[in-house]
Symmetry: C2
């Protein structure tokens, strides 16, 4: 009986140690989370109708995807314009990242979970904060935009776009999280493809939307920290089912 | 040695059974989650300046609480107006729930986690959907309001208010969750007190905000399901630390 009690005690100790190890590991990974300080790009005057046609097709494809780009056999040869509105560059999907890095000096950050720290939130609209986020073998474009959808009322819009085709984008889920002043806001969605028009995503408000006063509550000293995580949809489904 | 192995096996079986029991319990409680169908109240024309003074004090108190109501010794004797804007009722905190039930036919729902199903989302603004949510020994008012903050652009605002003092409200955290069409939006915050002005919370946008197109993506057949959970702040802090 004494032996049994000792065995039981030893097993409980093992379980406890395992739990402590797991907890410590989580704290460590949280502390070691990558923080990327993102300065605003130059204020951009948005073109009025560059995406007029694309917008309609994007609205439809958000729920009932039918991707004309998929007809091209090699995704890398798909024609692609620069996702930044002020830029008239046109090329292929294969080279859009090098264009963004070289012409617009956009940084690449690696890791499944990162913190995007946007500075100078007070700058007047329109202003963009942009990084490329590399993980799970793909590259994603995170765009935070300050824009006056209603005149005199600037709002912040954050969304994530896969540098790939819409079909590839359907395999992922991204999460944006704000957490400060006893408030927490989480947005989870499937990323759009960079081939779609980012302006239609923002004008539809099908993204994380913040008004100025809420952005102030979430920001610290003029900077807004957005936690970003990307998962492949299969992993995500498994998590939801748990 | 054989005895030790058997003991170890038995303990593992016990742990496995305990886990299965916990999992089954969670599934059961999820399946048995209360769903409350909430019909809209009559469209209300909002008074213009009833809360003009209260609004300023609420803005300040959201971050630096200083609650004049706390000076009254018995919270139940605190003067209180009806939180519905169209109503001119004035009384005490003690009787506001019976006023809401009797005069406005607002339902009470019990349980820590419920689903609020708002019907007829297409109705023109301004429209309110309201229930009283009773849990953790307190009563909370959930208000979903369709309102045109910018003319011609109706938006949906959802917030939770404790039927109690601001100091009591500080002890809780509420969570509102929308989940549909591969999108998930979560809002967590400390509830405001029903003694504060609900209109200032909404005009500040310090609540869950949805534009019409996003509300359509989250709604099903004209109804919007919002998952609601309330925790006491101590429990919440422990969860965050885990």
């Amino acid at each position: 009986m004494l032996f049994f009690t000792q065995c039981f005690g030893a097993v409980l100790d093992l379980i406890h140690l395992r739990f402590q190890h797991y907890k410590a590991k989580r704290v460590f990974s949280a502390a070691g989370q990558l923080v990327c300080v993102v300065n605003p790009t130059h204020s951009l005057k948005h073109a009025s109708n560059r995406c007029a046609v694309a917008q309609t097709s994007t609205e439809q494809s958000s729920l009932h995807p039918h991707h004309p780009h998929e007809a091209v056999h090699d995704p890398q040869l798909i024609p692609c314009t620069c996702p930044l509105f002020s830029c008239q560059w046109e090329g292929h999907l294969e080279v859009v990242v090098s264009h963004l890095r070289q012409t617009h000096s956009i940084n690449i950050l690696h890791g499944a979970e990162i913190v995007f720290l946007a500075t100078d939130m007070h700058l007047p609209a329109p202003t963009d904060w942009i990084i490329i986020h590399s993980c799970l073998g793909h590259q994603f474009l995170l765009v935070l935009r300050k824009q006056e959808k209603y005149e005199g009322h600037p709002q912040f819009f954050a969304t994530m776009m896969l540098i790939g085709t819409p079909t590839q984008a359907d395999n992922f889920t991204y999460r944006l999280e704000l957490n400060r002043n006893q408030r927490r806001l989480k947005w989870e969605a499937t990323p759009r493809s960079v081939l779609e028009c980012i302006d239609s995503v923002i004008s539809d408000g099908d993204c994380l939307v913040l008004n100025t006063s809420l952005a102030q509550l979430f920001s610290d000293n003029g900077s807004l920290a957005i936690g970003i995580a990307i998962t492949s949809s299969k992993v995500h489904t498994a998590e939801v089912e748990m």
